[in-house]
Symmetry: C2
Subunit: 290 residues, 2 copies
């Protein structure tokens, strides 16, 4: 990747510091610098040597960078874009690793204009673990990564990001931020809400009787509330629409159950079973599951 000599990663959480490690392995000639607004995190990141340099300031981190990757909570993006904008060189590429994409595109368009090139990224990799201490250079290996572009997005920036994430081990797909947010509102943000609602719908005394089924169905509800609040606030309409669809499906099941309509209950359950089995078969074929 001749167009990249220096990459800056802002945010040294699990994902940001795993990205710096992966860059170090995939692109040994590119200078990779990291930044965190917390001194304690910078110190840990230095001890763990997750980047060539951990800068003390945002300005120092993005100075002369060819690519800046924002790996902080989505709610901080707008302020970071504002702060870094005057420090970026002309033609600098900016992306992020946030889980929603419409608002970041809108913020970037307003703040960067045509001088700096933004496109969104969403590498779908994670772990229950949090923080730089769990950074792994193979966290992105085999992960899907969505790159988002609008009509106004610089085409060569999209090409560069496609090659960049592919080199880090991701399977890249390009789509609009609108399509991205609709898909992930339904397939990722909705299950989180579902799991949380399922836990809250049960009495504490009843939770003691939870078996393997309940434990799996509710697993994602143990995720960090602040990060998920961020995601839901920046993808409100799509997640609300997903809730409506889910409530409609639950309503159909409830009606069939109260009517003791055996055929209809069996049909709805069988539909879900066969559709899920087809999904699993697809994932295995795609080598996303083994």
């Amino acid at each position: 990747m001749k167009d990249l000599e220096k990459i800056s990663v802002i945010g040294m959480g699990l994902l940001g510091s795993s990205v710096t490690l992966a860059i170090g392995r995939a692109f040994p000639r590119i200078e990779v610098v990291g930044f965190s607004h917390r001194a304690a995190t910078r110190e840990k990141a230095r001890q763990m040597q997750v980047a060539d340099v951990i800068e003390e300031t945002l300005q120092g981190s993005v100075d002369q960078a060819d690519l800046v990757i924002l790996a902080t909570p989505i709610r901080t993006f707008e302020a970071y874009f504002e702060q870094m904008q005057p420090c970026l060189k002309d033609g600098c590429m900016v992306t992020d690793v946030g889980s929603t994409k419409e608002l970041p595109h809108r913020w970037a368009g307003r703040i960067f204009g045509n001088r700096v090139f933004y496109a969104g990224s969403h590498p779908i990799a994670g772990s229950e673990k949090r923080g730089v201490e769990y950074a792994r250079d193979d966290l992105l290996f085999g992960a899907r990564c969505i790159v988002t572009k609008t009509g106004g997005t610089n085409a060569s920036t999209v090409k560069t990001l496609e090659r960049f994430w592919t080199k880090l081990g991701c399977r890249v797909q390009v789509m609009s931020p609108q399509k991205h947010d609709r898909i992930f509102g339904h397939i990722s943000h909705l299950p989180h809400l579902t799991a949380a609602a399922l836990v809250n719908a049960n009495l504490t005394e009843t939770l003691k009787f939870a078996g393997k089924g309940f434990i799996d169905t509710s697993r994602v509800a143990s995720g960090p509330a602040n990060i998920w609040t961020d995601i839901l606030l920046t993808n409100a309409e799509n997640t609300a629409e997903g809730i409506d669809r889910l409530i409609a499906e639950l309503g159909q099941l409830k009606t069939a159950i109260l009517k003791k309509d055996e055929k209809r209950i069996q049909m709805l359950l069988e539909k879900a079973r066969t559709r899920r089995e087809a999904m699993i078969a697809y994932k295995i074929k795609q080598k996303e599951l083994f």
Copy 2:
């Protein structure tokens, strides 16, 4: 257990045949016989030697039995009770291993009267696997088992069942069938419906983007539709009430998201997170999870 010389298990699926194997190990002096209405299953059960004898008829299987355990789908219980009733000796104990308990108690009360003693059992053990070929003598080890009784249930039958399931490795709790069905309607049957509704709420194209979160949240939707239809039909009011609670929780989340009420979203997610973590801690303390 001096009061038990012969135990008969009806239904040689995974659970029934694992129970016969477990009895063989825990009570080497008790005669254990099995029965299945399918000739092919009887043949497999014989080859695998899951019981001392696999009988050719229901009548032969329950003849002179001190305890009969029904391990067939719940919808068949009423007919089996009717068929076995004339063949049972006075004072015979009957139980079952079904996932709902109110209707079996009602059917048993009507059919057995006071000549035969019924109490319900629900050993909470299972596997994605089905069929006698997966039978294991340790399937019940460490599992919870609920024994259900009403005001009219014979007390010594309850005592015998408590000792019996404990000897097979279960942690036994006694409660009313009403309480049992309310608890499991919410903690077990509701998650199944939730998982099915979540799959059906998503387009096939969207399912291709499923990550680990969706896969876990929807796992139980891959369970057998006919068995779950059975469970839902025999616990209709409790599961419908569970759906109402879940829809109410989803509605609260939706309102908070559309209002962009950050504090309220975070509060609801944090409530679910801490309640789930407390549940997991309880399960670990109880040695149900490691």
